[in-house]
Symmetry: C2
Subunit: 334 residues, 2 copies
């Protein structure tokens, strides 16, 4: 591969991020996992979770708010049930550490419930989920993200985070279908972006500090709050995600950790839950093909863009030309 | 208990429904489970899934579209993974049949994935989920409901059902928190009700047969379609639910069974997925109390009505005075 001018190769980008994260005090194992994750998001066009996030990782490491040298404790509490204490490290290295145990559970039993606690998850969910789907599993993931931001109808203040939820499935003769989304009307990052651009949001997106509807991102971000997606249904999803990703994992609920976090912290020591299932176990061999038929039906009905399509297109372009160099990438070399 | 005038006791209501369902050809075991489920919904105020539904059960039984005499095959395909073939029977009796095996999996491993196929689920999800929470488990449930009704953005015709999703958790010294909801902007039943009342719906609820936004329930129900809740996020949830509750279970996708169902069928032979976890396994003994604190925080923040509160109030009232007799109940005795 020859990179085009103003492009960087995936491997070079991983190295550059790794260097920064190692310099902030992380072990090389942790830095490698985080750098690969960040570069993957950047390569696939998820810029909000790509190199843009490196500064947040560095901040948590240099403050000592997150531990970049710790190893996770992996506890197999049932043949299909794995509990992980991340000891205040990051979620992706903890998940990587548990990889062999998780694979064993899936091979042996067809099911793995993976409950992580005391872990900072500062990326998108889809890279975690896509990895399972590449191995032929379906996977669901959810995060208590730790920053109080969401005000459901009836509440006088934010009580939930934007609580991401995601899902992945393999598909016959195609890339997996993988998606994640915040259970709020808008993600925190998108709202900050609109504020920076001086733009307004639709009524229903959020409220100001008095609890009144507002179209001003400033009012939502400064003392107000974002509404859940889809009214009370989004609030119920957030409730479930906090209950499972914090309560069931034994991690911190958003309302607990938000109060503890130092001013300006970008990452939060909470919990994450993954439920992974082998869809072909027990004689369901037709699964991959049937999902393919389902997806083909959706495309035929006009839904020609399916979740992941854009990422895979970006990935293919990056393989050919390299990853476009942004200001965030340039700053890695300052 | 003495029933007030115009009220019926829970047991009498169960018997009356049982008689009808048995007369339509169901076995007494199946009739008992379905009648208890219907009477439970009626008692707790979920009238849309209460006695109102009896006619639909009777219709499917007398047509021979559903089998009221079959027994389910329960296949333990892993220590935490149970696959059930309902052989064209109803979901609740199949789930009841698997009860001991499910309990064993939960006691032994802390996890039970329950995948039902070839089953008609014609009730709310919450009674199934509440039962798990009463035993101290958290439970998630989802249904490929089988009636094409939902048109996501970009699609030229309905491709999903209203695909219900639900969740339940036990709470220390309190009733469980239990909820379910359709992943569409509005349930099919509510829309029919608004049509009957001659009322309009908000823009965004659904589209007419040309795909244009409409506020007329007639246009949505006759050749149009309901929108997913929360735009593309609701569509992603529906995608996941069809994939898991139909694909992974080996049951029928909505788009498949809708084409097969006889005209006017009310129940659909699809699939349902339940994921049940023991939240205290592996040393997480504080779970129930921590969820209680979380719920207390929400109530303190102004969310004084939590999911299930109204049902529990109706249940308490029914225990004291009996269940109010509606026209639907009266018709059981015709």
């Amino acid at each position: 591969m020859t990179n085009e001018p103003d492009c960087i190769s995936f491997d070079d980008l991983v190295s550059a991020i790794e260097t920064k994260i190692t310099a902030a005090g992380a072990s090389s194992a942790v830095a490698k996992v985080l750098a690969t994750n960040c570069a993957t998001c950047e390569r696939d066009g998820t810029l909000s979770h790509g190199v843009f996030r490196v500064a947040g990782y560095l901040d948590s490491l240099t403050r000592g708010w997150a531990d970049g040298t710790t190893e996770a404790s992996v506890d197999v509490v049932g043949p299909s049930y794995i509990r992980i204490d991340g000891h205040n490290g990051f979620a992706q290295p903890a998940l990587a550490e548990a990889g062999p145990v998780v694979d064993q559970a899936l091979d042996d039993t067809g099911v793995a419930v993976i409950a992580l606690r005391n872990t900072h998850h500062f990326s998108a969910l889809w890279p975690d989920l896509e990895a399972f789907a590449r191995d032929g599993r379906v996977a669901m993931g959810m995060i208590a993200s730790g920053k109080l931001a969401v005000v459901p109808e009836g509440a006088t203040c934010p009580v939930f985070s934007t609580n991401p939820f995601g899902f992945a499935t393999p598909v016959a003769d195609a890339d997996p279908i993988v998606f994640d989304f915040s259970t709020s009307s808008m993600s925190h990052g998108d709202l900050q972006l609109l504020r920076a651009e001086g733009r307004e949001v639709a009524v229903g997106t959020g409220v100001d500090s008095t609890g009144a509807d507002t179209t001003d991102p400033n009012a939502i971000l400064d003392g107000g709050g974002i509404r859940p997606v889809g009214g009370h249904k989004g609030a119920l999803l957030s409730f479930m995600i906090e209950t499972l990703a914090a309560g069931l994992t034994g991690g911190a609920f958003t309302y607990e950790i938000d109060a503890e976090a130092p001013d300006g912290a970008h990452t939060f020591r909470t919990g994450q839950l993954f439920i992974v299932i082998d869809p072909e176990r027990g004689g369901n061999d037709a699964y991959l093909g049937r999902v393919r038929e389902f997806v083909d039906m959706l495309r035929d009905a006009g839904m020609d863009r399916q979740p992941g399509d854009r990422r895979y297109a970006n990935r293919a372009a990056a393989a050919e030309r390299g990853i476009p160099i942004t200001d965030s990438i340039r700053s890695l070399f300052d």
